[in-house]
């Protein structure tokens, strides 16, 4: 860097003073940029540290069981048989049920909020839906086991004799992810230019026709991204599911029966586990993280494409 020039009429002392201040500020600049960079890198490091630490901690399980870890039909800690199949099945099925319920409802809410809602109600309704996302997962669990499960048991005893099970977990998950899918869907619907939809209404199209032919086709990727994002949430949800999924550690190919999920199994068994069982639970954690990583990456890529198309 060349020495900066100052007006020649400046007193000599002040000149030196300024130079020193310039140097000090330059060092502060470097320090500030360096510090923020280190913290930004910390975000990057965290992700890899999570994967690495779970892989290391779960290594002995993968080494002992190999691929059997994914195909054994039970998780039996006292016999040291660790099969992830029941948990993986329960995770996928309960999340699938949640998505099947939550996706159409969330799209409906988003369309109502953007197209049909009286403007006075719009903000309060949107806020209420978003507040649902703020209720902690444990509260959903308590409510699920004390209110929802007994209700289902009482009125649908032939389908849900115990009240709890994969379907009940799916229903709770649906309630929990509706706010997420709704708010992202609403955001992408709002990216459709006002002129586009108004010209459609102008030639006499109904709300249904505008939604089906104009709105949804132009934001398809974003809506799918929102749904996958909701799926990512559902896969890893722990406390609510732990209460209502039934915690059956044997594989049963059922939709309404009792089961377990990866997250619920870890939460239930970890406090009393040690040695091989603890390693197996950490290995299971890695499996869950890799599944959600895959799903979330897909969701983010779809939403990012939307950003670029409309941003």
């Amino acid at each position: 860097m060349s020495t900066p020039e100052y007006p020649s009429n400046m007193p000599l002392g002040a000149d030196q003073h300024r130079l020193r201040a310039l140097g000090r500020n330059h060092r502060l600049d470097l320090a500030f940029q360096g510090t923020t960079f280190v913290f930004a890198m910390l975000v990057l490091v965290t992700l890899f540290a999570i994967i690495a630490s779970l892989a290391v901690a779960g290594y002995s399980t993968f080494a002992t069981f190999g691929f059997d870890f994914f195909t054994l039909n039970r998780w039996s800690a006292n016999q040291e048989i660790f099969g992830a199949l029941p948990a993986i099945y329960g995770t996928l099925v309960s999340s699938a049920i949640a998505i099947l319920i939550a996706a159409p409802i969330s799209i409906g809410i988003a369309v109502f909020l953007t197209e049909k809602c009286p403007s006075k109600l719009r903000q309060p309704l949107a806020t209420t839906v978003e507040l649902l996302a703020g209720v902690p997962s444990i509260i959903y669990g308590m409510w699920g086991v004390q209110v929802l499960a007994p209700f289902l048991q009482r009125y649908f005893p032939s389908v849900l004799p115990a009240g709890t099970g994969l379907f009940t977990a799916g229903l709770i998950l649906a309630i929990m992810i509706i706010p997420f899918i709704t708010s992202v869907t609403r955001d992408v619907l709002m990216t459709v230019p006002k002129a586009t939809r108004e010209s459609a209404y102008g030639v006499g199209a109904t709300t249904w026709e505008v939604t089906r032919s104009i709105l949804l086709p132009s934001v398809k990727g974003g809506v799918v991204g929102a749904i996958i994002l909701g799926l990512g949430r559902a896969l890893g949800e722990t406390m609510a599911v732990t209460f209502v999924i039934g915690n059956n550690l044997f594989f049963a190919p059922t939709l309404f029966g009792q089961g377990t999920s990866i997250a619920a199994l870890i939460a239930n068994q970890f406090p009393e586990a040690d040695g091989a069982q603890r390693s197996a639970l950490l290995a299971l954690g890695l499996v869950l993280f890799l599944i959600t990583l895959l799903v979330l990456t897909a969701a983010r890529l779809m939403l990012r494409k939307m950003d670029r198309a409309h941003g």
Binding site: L47, A49, L54, T206, L282
Partner: protein, 284 residues
């Protein structure tokens, strides 16, 4: 004549379209009611079950097998949430600053942005397992610090995201004006950009704080829980979410503890909803 016949056909089509549209609008309205009714049901249940147990002793006594209160859990939760918020906010603001002010559209910045988004939606139970593996196991014991760090990691991406978004909203001309006056980069960022983005960042931190104060799963593996008065962050630490969890599961045969869980649930939910609403007001 021809035009008349056309009109009759048209009316049939018109009715069909109108009918289909009514069904659709009705379904959307129904979906909205379905989406909103749960908040009312849950809050009502919390009030019905939780209010009768509300008394001063809930705040002043510690949790005991015979009931007691939630004082120790509330203190522990406040301490860990505070630790998590401070750590997560410092790291998050710094990281968000780098993304917005220095990284910009660079490849590395895009990767970090992407990873931060992934962490934002990552299961919180995984964060707990991670801290268990890197902090609890090496240290040999559960601790409030481990709980605080786990909560900080959950808060981190929320703050990174809002900081970057809000700094991005500060007009470039403000930076140029400050630069023209001779201000250095660090001074521009700390004095000009931060003050422009302050309201938004505070909102983000409050929302993140609300989110971590209800987290249970990561605390199972990090802070655990305790029935004692705890203020030492280096020990197992009592906290509200874990107390609710234990009272509702392993201690669910004790009516007093179930009652306590509902009262605690009411307090926790009200605190979190209040934080959410305050955050929305700050944003305006």
């Amino acid at each position: 004549m021809a035009s008349h016949a056309f009109e009759i056909r048209d009316i049939g089509l018109y009715r069909r379209r109108r009918w289909r549209n009514s069904v659709f609008v009705f379904a959307c309205t129904g979906a909205t009611l379905f989406g909103v009714v749960w908040l009312a049901l849950i809050v009502a249940e919390l009030l019905i079950q939780g209010l009768p147990g509300l008394s001063l002793s809930v705040f002043t006594e510690r949790t005991m097998m015979s009931g007691g209160g939630l004082g120790n859990a509330i203190v522990g939760s406040l301490m860990m949430t505070a630790a998590g918020t401070v750590i997560g906010t410092v790291v998050g603001i710094a990281a968000g600053t780098w993304l917005a002010e220095y990284g910009r559209d660079g490849k590395l910045a895009n990767v970090i942005r992407f990873i931060s988004d992934i962490l934002l939606s990552a299961p919180s139970i995984i964060v707990g397992l991670f801290i268990y593996a890197v902090m609890v196991q090496p240290m040999g014991h559960f601790s409030g610090w481990a709980g605080g760090v786990a909560l900080a990691i959950i808060l981190l991406p929320v703050v990174v995201r809002t900081t970057e978004d809000q700094l991005g909203l500060v007009p470039q001309s403000l930076r140029e004006a400050a630069s023209a006056l001779g201000a250095h980069r660090w001074l521009i960022v700390t004095k000009v950009c931060y003050s422009g983005a302050r309201a938004g960042i505070v909102t983000g931190v409050l929302l993140g704080c609300a989110r971590i104060s209800g987290e249970t799963a990561p605390l199972i593996f990090t802070a655990l829980n305790s029935n004692q008065w705890t203020t030492r962050m280096n020990d197992v630490m009592a906290n509200l979410p874990m107390t609710l969890y234990q009272n509702m599961t392993i201690n669910s045969f004790i009516p007093d503890l179930v009652q306590l869980a509902w009262t605690g649930g009411l307090l926790l939910t009200m605190a979190i909803l209040a934080l959410n609403i305050i955050a929305r007001f700050v944003a305006r």
